[in-house]
């Protein structure tokens, strides 16, 4: 390796830096730092002029490391890396020092100290730069096909979206028909239509699409690989087939809780809302007079603290329908809070009230009581508003229960190496910023398997996931910033600590194939899976695994430089 020849470029940033920090003094200081062969000030290093100054200096001084002290790498790093690359220097031989956000802008009243700090930050950057190494980015092709797991509305929307963009889609549904949970419903809230009207066209479109290969009934048995290159094995009618895809969308939905409360399952006039819809759909409900519905059954309790979001609307929908079927019926909805957000839902609720549905608020500490030995005869409830207990005659009790995660989520999560959150639903990469991606590249999530979602939301999420998934498919290749981990197989002892801490399952213990180490069990990093967090590098007891761009040598050199050690 050639001796380091470091060039340092200090940006005035107009007066942003230069108005506070004594830039010429920092330049003079930088010139005396070890391995620095050139240092200069620029009015704006990021300007065309600044960029060409870097390129020229690389040639003139035969620089093999470049340090720019200016603003934040979070915005400007790509620009300077490209400048280096244009001048024939590997872009990873560039180091950024932030003397604006982290110095001049926050120490405007102490020019002396700000200058001293800028000098020290430059010293640290130079110390790191001395140990930078040229890196190659990992690039791998993306197999132009997608898999969508789950044939509900979310999954079908995603599949259709991708297929219409021209990508081959494998849609895997475990039931013998498409449509998911929607098929079990009687009506859909706010539009009050039968679900068939919605689903049928979608199902037909899916079934008739030349780009969609339907696997049904089928389940995913195993999966391996990484973005662009997944191998998924599916069990289709007892036959195992292997499918190669570049991206995967998880849209497996959720299920309705069957409660062990309010004599459900013991007395035959107690139903869940879904059970009620099933009977309505099948025309088997029969006569009824007084209907009581209880909301939040098994939800928003310590063992299941979340709100399932859909059950209030479902209860309102069915309460109104009961009133419609039998206007003489007394229909009560006992609720804790009503989640009828937005104009559309609020209006739906108002209409139900107008139709004569009565709403009574109960509290968790004082839940309704069911009366009756063989059948429910009445429900006693403490009405908070009236501050008294009322007894409601009842010959049909309907319980609104929350959506709960599918039992096989955990299995699927292990297979795909995507996380499950606290409640058992799948966990997206970021709650706000990355709502339909998993932290694992190339795998996306949509619909109620992530969190209870209504039809509109499920479809929107299906489209969103498809659009995210289309990016790598369209690009045809993925590049990974060269900050991924590397293993020194000579010193690796195969203890597996890195394997345990890696959040992306990017590291595996394998027999080494390197000459002289054949058969030794060592860690191996899959660069396509590695996201460059460096957890492994911090956990490895003898530092056999390192994160490129953030090696021990580089970080320790910065610490030493800051402490006045060379």
């Amino acid at each position: 390796m050639a001796a380091p020849r470091i060039g340092v470029f200090i940006c005035h940033c107009g007066t942003n830096i230069g108005g506070i920090v004594d830039v010429p003094e920092v330049v003079d200081y930088a010139k005396k730092l070890p391995y620095v062969v050139h240092a200069e000030a620029n009015l704006y290093t990021c300007s065309e002029e600044g960029i060409s100054a870097i390129k020229e200096a690389i040639k003139e001084y035969d620089l093999n490391r470049v340090v720019v002290a200016s603003c934040t790498p979070r915005t400007h790093q790509p620009l300077f890396r490209n400048a280096c690359a244009d001048a024939g220097l590997n872009p990873y031989l560039f180091e950024f020092v932030n003397i604006r956000e982290h110095c001049s802008w926050i120490h405007m009243h102490d020019r002396r100290e700000a200058t001293e700090k800028a000098k020290e930050l430059v010293k640290m950057g130079v110390a790191k730069a001395r140990w930078l190494e040229a890196q190659e980015e990992f690039e791998s092709g993306v197999y132009p096909a997608a898999m969508v797991i789950g044939g509900g509305v979310a999954g079908m929307s995603a599949a259709l979206n991708l297929a219409n963009q021209g990508f081959e889609v494998h849609l895997v549904e475990k039931e013998p028909e498409l449509g998911g949970r929607l098929l079990k419903l009687n009506r859909i809230f706010t539009i009050n239509k039968a679900p068939d009207e919605l689903v049928d066209s979608m199902v037909k479109a899916v079934q008739g699409h030349s780009k969609i290969k339907l696997h049904m009934p089928a389940v995913v048995k195993a999966a391996s690989g990484y973005i662009g290159n997944f191998d998924v094995s599916i069990d289709e009618d007892g036959q195992e087939t292997s499918v190669k895809v570049g991206v995967i969308i998880v849209a497996t939905g959720a299920q309705v809780l069957e409660p062990e409360l309010y004599s459900y399952g013991k007395l035959d006039n107690v139903l869940t809302q879904l059970g009620l819809e099933q009977r309505l759909k099948d025309g088997k409900l029969g006569e009824f007079q007084n209907v009581v519905m209880i909301n939040c059954v098994g939800a928003r309790i310590p063992e299941r603290p979340y709100c399932s979001r859909l059950c209030c609307m479902t209860a309102i929908k069915n309460a109104a329908l009961m009133k419609e079927i039998n206007p003489k019926a007394q229909v009560y909805v006992l609720h804790r809070d009503l989640m009828t957000y937005g104009v559309e839902f609020e209006e739906y609720y108002r209409k139900a009230r107008e139709a004569g549905v009565r709403f009574i608020r109960y509290t968790l500490s004082n839940p309704p009581q069911v009366m009756g030995a063989k059948r429910v005869e009445a429900v006693k409830v403490y009405d908070e508003l009236m501050d008294m207990e009322v007894e409601l005659s009842c010959n049909l009790l309907v319980l609104a229960t929350p959506l709960i995660p599918n039992a096989d989520n955990e299995e699927l999560s292990k297979m795909l190496k995507v996380p499950i959150g606290d409640g058992g639903f799948f966990l997206e990469a970021h709650v706000k910023l990355r709502p339909v991606e998993f932290a694992m590249d190339g795998i996306y999530v949509a619909g109620s398997c992530r969190w209870p979602a209504d039809i509109k939301e499920s479809i929107a999420q299906g489209y969103a996931a498809a659009s995210e998934a289309a990016i790598p498919l369209r690009q045809g290749a993925v590049r990974v910033e060269a900050i991924t981990a590397t293993v020194d197989p000579k010193t690796c002892k195969g203890c597996g600590t890195c394997v345990l801490v890696c959040p992306f399952d990017a590291i595996e213990l394998k027999e080494s194939k390197i000459k002289g180490l054949e058969g030794k069990i060592v860690s191996e990093v899959n660069a396509a899976l590695c996201k460059g967090c460096g957890l492994c590098a911090a956990a490895c007891p003898n530092r056999a695994i390192q994160q490129r761009g953030f090696t021990d040598m580089q970080l320790l050199s910065m610490v030493n430089a800051l402490s006045g050690k060379r």
Binding site: T72, P73, R74, N98, R100, E101, H102, W105, I106, H107, M108, H109, D110, E113, A114, E116, K117, E120, L121, M124, P419, L427, A429, H430, V431, A439, I483, V501, P503, F504, K531, G532, C533, G534, L535, A537, A538, A539, Q547, F550, D552, L555, L556, M558, V559, N560, L562, S563, G564, K565
Partner: protein, 145 residues
């Protein structure tokens, strides 16, 4: 009249902060963009995740004579790598106790959560650390040299 000879040079602690790229470093950037003024004592080293900072590096920094070391990462649950900061948190609990056990004041090593939106918190953390460590005086480790 105070004896002028007794007046010593003011102690200006030198504090190192490892900031994760996604939250704390961005928070520090935001503090800059917002022009929140703060003490000049803290120097930032950018890492991709707070979980990249091994205890060895903290120990080495303190042994080198730095007066304080901070690791600033995403709030629990917000880690860009989903769980890096949880591992950092476990290690930090153990390290903090170990350092305190050998007589290094706990204030000299801190783990704090700073999100990308918390420019004000970043500046508060810097100020607080500077004040506390100034009050403690120079790192005891230096006396050992």
């Amino acid at each position: 009249m105070p004896d002028i000879k007794e007046v010593q040079t003011e102690f200006k602690p030198k504090i190192l902060a490892f900031c994760c790229n996604w939250c704390a470093y961005a928070g520090a950037d935001l503090a800059g963009v917002s022009r929140f003024q703060m003490p000049t004592n803290v120097r930032v080293i950018r890492v991709m995740c707070s979980g990249r900072v091994p205890p060895e590096l903290v120990i080495r920094a303190l042994a080198n004579g730095l007066d304080g070391v901070m690791i600033l990462g995403c709030h629990p649950g917000d880690c860009h790598y989903s769980e890096g900061n949880y591992l950092t948190r476990r290690r930090a609990h153990v390290l903090k106790r170990l350092l305190s056990y050998i007589g290094i004041e706990p204030e000299r090593f801190q783990l704090r959560w700073v999100s990308a939106a918390e420019g004000a918190k970043f500046s508060a953390v810097v100020k607080e650390a500077t004040d506390k460590i100034t009050a403690l005086g120079p790192n005891r480790w230096v006396d050992k040299k």
